[in-house]
């Protein structure tokens, strides 16, 4: 079987932000080129931006505290924004948020544009504020995000620890949009990453054409909750021209 039609290939360099509306059925693959990457991500229904990724609903519907293949990302409206169709990493975090300018200053030092030009120390909070601003969204729209390639575990007492080397060179995760989804990415070091140097890793983005989840799709069938989530998602498009390529 040949790969579906390639729509876009684009690098996401360290420190960089990015956004795009992924049409229903299209896929986005994020590849951790060198290993050890960390990409913070937010998701919105592109047709109704007040509908957005909901960390608690995503976790409790699927009885999980991590995200990997066959999981889906729920909005606050009971619908599936994206499915995780492929994952060679095994664990993506969504419970520990993202870093700020203050985190960077404390950990890495100043890292100003004046000195470093475009190698300056970028942070995900500011990246999100800027990228969301392009859609007239703002701070109030920044919710608990997903952290691709990041693993943070909780022990029996709830204590959190960052797991290094969770993602190997060439590891990738693929999302399929189930709503027309505005995806906002920020490639900066996770605030719990113990590495002392500011060195966000390059990530490659690949977008391909595709169709929404078929009836027998593993994401739809991975738990009864997801079956119902897809029913609600399909119902949202019922009676409308489904605009996928």
């Amino acid at each position: 079987m040949s790969e579906p039609r390639l729509i876009l290939e684009e690098p996401l360099r360290g420190g960089q932000m990015w956004s795009r509306v992924l049409r229903r059925g299209q896929t986005l693959r994020l590849t951790d080129v060198e290993g050890g990457a960390s990409v913070a991500a937010l998701f919105y229904n592109a047709e109704e931006l007040s509908e957005r990724y909901n960390m608690p609903d995503t976790l409790k519907a699927q009885h999980t505290a991590r995200l990997t293949a066959n999981h889906v990302l729920y909005s606050d409206m009971g619908r599936v924004l994206c499915s995780v169709t492929e994952d060679t990493v095994g664990w993506h975090d969504t419970i520990t948020g993202h870093g700020t300018a203050l985190h960077n200053r404390k950990k890495y030092g100043e890292g100003s544009y004046q000195k470093l030009r475009n190698d300056r120390y970028c942070n995900s909070r500011d990246n999100f504020v800027v990228e969301l601003g392009k859609y007239e969204l703002g701070k109030r729209d920044i919710v608990a995000n997903l952290n691709f390639f990041v693993k943070v575990v909780a022990d029996a007492r709830g204590a959190l620890s960052f797991v290094p080397e969770n993602s190997r060179p060439g590891a990738y995760v693929t999302l399929r949009a189930e709503l027309h989804t505005l995806i906002v990415l920020s490639n900066t070091p996770h605030p719990m990453d113990p590495r002392r140097a500011y060195a966000p890793r390059p990530v490659a983005l690949t977008i391909r054409a595709g169709l929404p989840a078929a009836i027998e799709d593993p994401c739809r069938q991975s738990c009864p909750e997801n079956g119902r989530g897809f029913t609600l998602t399909d119902g949202y498009f019922a009676g409308r021209e489904a605009a996928w390529p």
């Binding site: 909901n54 608690p56 609903d57 606050d76 009971g78 419970i95 608990a144 119902r228 609600l232």
Partner: protein, 214 residues
């Protein structure tokens, strides 16, 4: 789980109100005042959000709170952090032992996903939040309803990444108390959920008390 009791007595409280199951509540807690939430009958979830009273976009952040304290459970000593990294309140007493902040609030739509499509009619926390802010806090809207605290609720997570809703660790009369570190708007939905053990399948009243200068 170390339990810490408070020396404050209800007779000296500035404010004292019972919230029935399924009702909403909002109050402006001033800096230095102490807020107590009491689980009157046990096993009741109090879904709670906090906002900087003067800058509501600076709101409670579950993920910043758990990351900065290095633990997913909230208890005595926990600093409830905002999206801007400010301390909104500090938990100063807790006779329950731990509280959840990953489980979020129920909504009609998420109830359909979690339990059955026919559950849409059931009362849910998000409805309570929307109604309460529409009536009392016009500066807030749906986009301000982020991941909340679930006082008295038990949502264990395993090192393998499993997450479950379990019967509460709370009991009748258990309480949690927090000191406001700045002027804070508190928004509570006394959870009406009937589909999981978060309320022991029998939603009940909680009591809210505030001490300090009026």
């Amino acid at each position: 789980m170390a339990l810490v009791e408070s020396q404050l007595v209800p007779e000296q409280a500035l404010f004292d109100q019972v919230i029935p199951a399924g009702d909403g509540f909002t109050y402006l807690v001033k800096r230095g005042q102490v807020l107590r939430i009491v689980d009157l009958e046990g096993n009741q979830a109090a879904d709670t959000l906090f906002y900087d009273a003067h800058e509501p976009s600076n709101r409670y952040s579950a993920v910043d709170t758990v990351r900065e304290q290095g633990n997913i459970y909230l208890t005595t000593g926990t600093r409830l952090l905002s999206t801007e990294g400010d301390v909104l309140l500090t938990i100063v007493a807790d006779t329950c032992g731990r509280h959840d902040t990953l489980g979020g609030a129920c909504a009609a739509e998420s109830n359909q996903v979690r339990y059955a499509l026919e559950k849409k009619y059931m009362h849910a926390c998000r409805d309570t939040f929307l109604l309460t802010i529409a009536c009392c806090t016009p500066d807030l809207s749906k986009r301000d309803l982020a991941a909340n605290v679930n006082f008295f609720m038990n949502v264990p997570v395993t090192s393998e990444g499993k997450l479950t809703f379990e019967d509460g660790v709370s009991g009748p009369g258990r309480y949690v108390e927090m000191r406001a570190e700045r002027d804070v708007r508190v928004l509570i939905s006394n959870c009406p959920q009937l589909n999981n053990p978060c309320n022991g399948y029998e939603p009940s009243e909680v009591r809210v008390l505030v001490w300090g200068q009026g």
